[in-house]
Symmetry: C2
Subunit: 343 residues, 2 copies
Amino acid sequence: MMTSKNDKNTRTTGRPTLNEVARLAGVSPITASRALRGVSTVATALVEKVQKAAAELSYVVNPAARALASAQSHSVVVLVPSLSNLLFIETLEAIHQVLRPKGFEVLIGNTHYSREEEENLLRNYMAYQPRGLLLTGFDRTESARRMVESSNVPSVYMMDLDPGAGLNCVGFSQTSAGETAAAHLISRGRKRLAYIGAQLDQRTLLRGEGFRRALQRAQLYDPALELLTPRPSSVGLGGELFLQLLASHPDVDAIFFGNDDLAHGALLEALRHGIKVPEQVAVLGFNDLPASSFMVPRLSSISTPREAIGRRAAEHLLTLMAGNKIAKPVVDMGFELKVRESS
Amino acid sequence: MMTSKNDKNTRTTGRPTLNEVARLAGVSPITASRALRGVSTVATALVEKVQKAAAELSYVVNPAARALASAQSHSVVVLVPSLSNLLFIETLEAIHQVLRPKGFEVLIGNTHYSREEEENLLRNYMAYQPRGLLLTGFDRTESARRMVESSNVPSVYMMDLDPGAGLNCVGFSQTSAGETAAAHLISRGRKRLAYIGAQLDQRTLLRGEGFRRALQRAQLYDPALELLTPRPSSVGLGGELFLQLLASHPDVDAIFFGNDDLAHGALLEALRHGIKVPEQVAVLGFNDLPASSFMVPRLSSISTPREAIGRRAAEHLLTLMAGNKIAKPVVDMGFELKVRESS
DNA sequence: TTGTACGCGTTATCAA
DNA sequence: TTGATAACGCGTACAA
């Protein structure tokens, strides 16, 4: 034995331990632990002493030890379909802002819009015994679904609303957003309405479905005017699809894009080719990205509360993790149609 | 005692432990541990048995226990100044792609371009005993610097090149990028060259410095043509500053923007106000964001290897964490001037 | 090459 | 309200 085995204060890392804090405060380690965690059963005088000692040593808990002892980590896993989309970044930021101050460590997983990748990420991250899960949408493999369910880890689903209303979710109705888009364009007197969507995740599809339903009700639906591609959404792709659609269907007089970057591309190509927006064709985007209101012409779009969703979902999860049940599991954050110059 | 104290196999979490794997494989726990970690001193026959057992139980290590026992986590902390900038997203993606397959957990911290926030994040994340650090740039508080240094955690600095060449870094020379920008614009015969920068982080400043130096050498430098603001870079801001500059200095015939989104805003306002680009004023961006080549006119820009930097930095860190020293600590990934229509 | 004994820093359990 | 004791699951140091 190199060091005396009874020397509880021998440190290997340079960091102070709970033991040292306890000694300095003149209490037992467990009392120090309780004091620091704000567990109720500690006398306020002791709490203060412990906190002072901790501050003095600039003590920080060892998350590994804590996780091991409590069989619970302080990490929350967040799975989003993409990072290249500003969309989810704003949501992530908000999540961080809520969770970090509460001492949670946020683990981000990018599923790249793939169910398989999501399943893998989930399997891996579950090893960390996360305290909570923040997932995007409801479209996942059966096995992923089971993993989440059987783990009993508190989970909140973001972006969409659960039709079954059994899951905790914070989002808005994607289909009704699509309907709103159609209604707006129709109210402008447009007759030949198209939908262009990329990155065919469930929400893009749902939006298209709402759009289609509204068109059908107005007897304006033409399946030929639906341009869908699994390719990732981008400015370049938007321009390309826009030109392609107009070439094959020159009579189109309104287009709803599944994401603003597609619409930006369309607006730019319209400029380049002298296609008048909105005179010849109205353009409506989705998500209202920061650049949209500066496009030429300024892009009309459906603004979505990405940041608010992140914040709310994180708070939702916080109460869940605290062991409290939630009265209203489904939180509809709505969306807002911003009419500008392009439609 | 609810459970017999000698029962090493009683589990509290539903998860299999190393003990169980070892029992199933008929070896001691430590042998199982070594086998799973690929430590050389285990007979191949045993390794196979252990791996089979692990697979059968679908065993996954408990990261907390591992971290506690080894006083080392498997997490790598990455600190970037912003997430709303597509820039760093691409870098982060690349980092993930390299580190995750190696079993590292990536902890992302957003400093929001603030030295104080970076210091705080660092202090917090250090509690996780990260195995490695990926930091952006060299501009940080003295205390943050000390924390990194005294921790002895392997660190790689991204985006810029260390002038002292003492630190491991992967990036490119910001000043020479600024010089290249100036040289290009000058070669186009421009005489009244301006620099517009936002989000005055060190790299933006360095770029401006390079630009200025080249202008001075060409006797073309006019301090009045430098528009700098600490406000965060955005399309809207770019348009605003562009108009402002042209109003106060109508003779400006070329502008170098510190970031592409600023340039996008400028191009859009030029369109709106009938200002001819590049005839009246040439516009050059920085970073070559995906949308740039689709702008009207197509934006000339200096393309930066964000993704490659992330990948390389992560690999760099991997060798460092493996205990190997690196022959050439400073890795210059360069940049590329893309001349398109706007300049 | 394999195994034994122990400790990592914290929290749960139970007794005082 | 506080404290003693025993885990939590794994890796290190050493011995065999």
